[in-house]
């Protein structure tokens, strides 16, 4: 596989191109013509598609996309290009089945395929959702770590250090990043699950210096660090610096691959193709051992919008049919905790991802607008549903997801804010309050009614 230094060399010497030209004259027309060439058509009636031929076409189109346009480096204003053989080598030689966490709680992220009967991996947590205080941080993260299905926890984003508001790029960010890892680890210890891995170690950090500081000072070698990108198929020195650090330490990278439906990739068909191109980007440029797709929508702030479900599910099927690098889908939602709606959103996201061959990360509300609008209930519910659909056919899951969509789709236009963690849970016992519990019971009953057989007894109540 191409080395990290070779990627950097190409970024430093590749063809010069302005960012705007890369976006509008290269990327946009290429995606459009590939949508046509490969006949990729969005079908809203089938949010979870099961057409293998379609998945294979999307994969081929994604491969062709990255070959055609390359990857743009924002800092050098040059294009990093790849040869077909280099993409094939990347897929063949990429790491697989990495271990997250240590000791008793070390967990392998499995390679799954569509309709796989292998249990998925669950990363549960606030995942960058902001919290107002250290008290909320600790209680909430302990509650996540206590969830029996958590294979890893994802930390919240701190907003204050000793009462001072964290500003991106400032020294407070460094301090916040270090504390985030230390406190998340402490929460796993309090939960009696010391050794549970931390996915996306320093959600507080925006810049590489914060991420590197948090990892260097406080993370364990078996924690993950997420590396992002700028926009569609673009990288920058900031991201590359994180990668340089992580590679030197032999650490595992979670390659965040975000596509916005309605952005440069256009509609769902283009976004699915672009997400497949990102699979190669993740392995070669981000040096990822786990690919972490997060698709969002220019109008709806959720991973459970119908367009997003189709796009993600199709792209995960495409990737898992052709690659052994495991997928951990990010599952943000739009309605706040204790509204009921967020539970259906999470159920639909988890079911469609698991049937497609992915593993699941459940985080905060998509826009993560206000501090503390987080709860352990959504991740728990996503895991309960995800575990229950293991081995089910995509066709059956499609029927189920359509019924779930009926429950919440009309309400995505104006999703309710819900309650803060300290309002919907008791911070000391970390147990749901009566109203929150009621939403959970109702949602479980509704899903049973829709035909889902839960594998596990209810965790709460």
């Amino acid at each position: 596989m191409l080395s990290n230094l070779e990627i950097y060399r190409r970024a430093a010497t590749g063809e010069i191109c302005s960012e705007k030209d890369y976006d509008l004259k290269r990327f946009v027309p290429a995606v459009r013509s590939l949508v046509r060439k490969y006949g990729v058509e969005y079908d809203p009636e089938t949010p979870v598609p099961s057409d293998d031929n379609l998945a294979d076409r999307v994969w081929e189109a994604g491969r062709e996309l990255i070959l055609q346009v390359g990857v743009y480096c924002v800092d050098t204003e040059r294009i990093i290009r790849f040869e077909p053989i280099e993409l094939d080598q990347a897929i063949a030689q990429a790491p697989r089945e990495v271990v997250v966490g240590f000791g008793q709680f070390a967990r392998r992220i499995p390679v799954r395929r569509p309709e796989s009967s292998i249990a998925p991996f669950f990363s549960l947590g606030a995942c960058g959702g902001p919290v107002s205080s250290d008290e909320v941080f600790m209680s909430l993260t302990q509650a996540y770590a206590e969830l029996p299905y958590a294979d890893a926890v994802a930390s919240p984003a701190m907003t204050h250090v000793d009462g001072l508001q964290i500003v991106a790029g400032s020294p407070l960010e460094i301090e916040g990043c270090i504390r985030t890892v230390l406190m998340t680890r402490e929460a796993t210890r309090r939960a009696h699950r010391f050794g549970l891995g931390i996915a996306n170690t320093v959600a507080t950090g925006v810049r590489s210096q914060g991420h590197i500081a948090g990892n260097a000072v406080a993370a364990h070698p078996c924690d993950l660090m997420e590396v992002g990108h700028t926009a569609d198929l673009k990288t920058d020195f900031d991201g590359m610096s994180k990668i340089a650090y992580m590679q030197r330490q032999g650490r595992t990278i979670l390659g965040g691959t975000g596509v916005v439906i309605g952005g440069y990739a256009g509609g769902p068909a283009g976004a699915a193709i672009s997400l497949c191109a990102y699979h190669f980007f993740a392995i070669l440029v981000q040096r990822a051992s786990i690919v972490h797709p997060y698709v969002s929508h220019f109008r709806f702030q959720t991973a459970a919008n119908r367009d997003v479900i189709w796009t993600t599910s199709l792209a995960i099927q495409a990737s898992t049919r052709h690659s052994n690098v495991p997928i951990l889908q990010s599952g943000v939602y739009s309605a706040g905790p204790a509204t009921g709606i967020s539970l259906y959103e999470e159920a639909a996201m988890a079911a469609s991802c698991v049937a497609a061959g992915g593993s699941v990360e459940v985080g905060p509300t998509a826009s993560a607008t206000r501090s503390d609008y987080l709860s352990p209930m959504e991740p728990l519910f996503a895991a309960e549903v995800g575990r229950s659909v293991v081995g089910m056919s995509r066709k059956d899951v499609n029927v189920l997801v359509r019924k779930m969509l009926d429950q919440y789709e009309p309400r995505l236009e104006a999703p309710p804010l819900g309650l803060r963690y300290q309002e919907c849970f008791d911070m000391e016992s970390r147990q749901p309050r009566a109203e929150t519990l009621e939403h959970y019971r109702t949602a479980r009953a509704a899903l049973r009614e829709m035909g889902l057989e839960f594998r596990d007894p209810p965790y709460y109540g």
Partner: protein, 222 residues
């Protein structure tokens, strides 16, 4: 009555926008000029009508950001052809000038680009400072370009304080009264805008246009 040729040509300009064949727009405008069409007619019934249609398609969810951006570029290319022929009269009725950017530390650009494009197509002259923009640059650029409005975008909890910085820089320079300041971006809220004493908050790009229109109406009245 317009002759058939004129009618067809204007329809083709609009069709080029609607069919996302943006490269054709300047060509068609040039053809119109060669055929002796009035620049004003080409502007009103060609370019403006075309870009309006794209705006409608966007609102209906039929096209997305790239089409909007490409349409705005095609429109500009058309205007560049018409401008020298308008005998000093400004081609477009510019409603006002907006300086926009994403704050320091924040590189989220998609929402800002949508806001920029909608403002442009609604008749505003928009100066886009890009992403990772320090507070002082918003102020300096707004002063330099004599803008009426500063639009400040932030998407993260740790970069929202930079929106407040823009306002504080304006206050420090004694220029708070010279500009309307609107804020937006995923994690911002109405309450936040009120707290930092911004003039307005918009949840969507359409809100940004409505806010801008409101400010300029107020300016006109005063």
């Amino acid at each position: 009555m317009r002759d058939r040729q004129t009618h067809e040509l204007l329809a083709n300009v609009v069709a080029a926008f609607v069919g996302a064949e943006f490269d054709q727009v300047p060509e068609l405008v040039q053809r119109g000029l060669t055929a002796g069409l009035e620049p004003q007619v080409l502007l009103d019934d060609g370019l403006v009508a075309g870009i309006r249609e794209v705006g409608e398609q966007f609102r209906r969810g039929q096209v997305y950001l790239p089409e909007m951006m490409l349409a705005a570029e095609a429109w500009q290319a058309g205007i560049d052809l018409l401008e020298p022929l308008m005998a000093g009269r400004p081609v477009q009725q510019v409603k006002g000038k907006v300086v926009i950017g994403t704050v320091k530390g924040d590189i989220h650009s998609l929402g800002k680009n949508i806001v920029t494009t909608l403002l442009k197509t609604a008749g505003y002259d928009v100066v886009d400072l890009g992403v990772d923009v320090p507070a002082s640059r918003f102020v300096a650029k707004a002063v330099e370009t004599r803008a009426e409005i500063i639009a400040v975008c932030a998407l993260m909890t740790t970069t929202m304080p930079q929106q407040k910085e823009v306002i504080e820089h304006l206050l420090a320079a004694n220029k708070r009264e010279d500009f309307y300041v609107m804020v937006g971006g995923a994690c911002t809220t109405q309450e936040w805008a009120a707290q930092i004493k911004a003039d307005g908050y918009g949840a969507t790009a359409a809100d940004a246009v409505a806010l801008a229109d409101g400010y300029l109406n107020r300016l006109k009245r005063s």
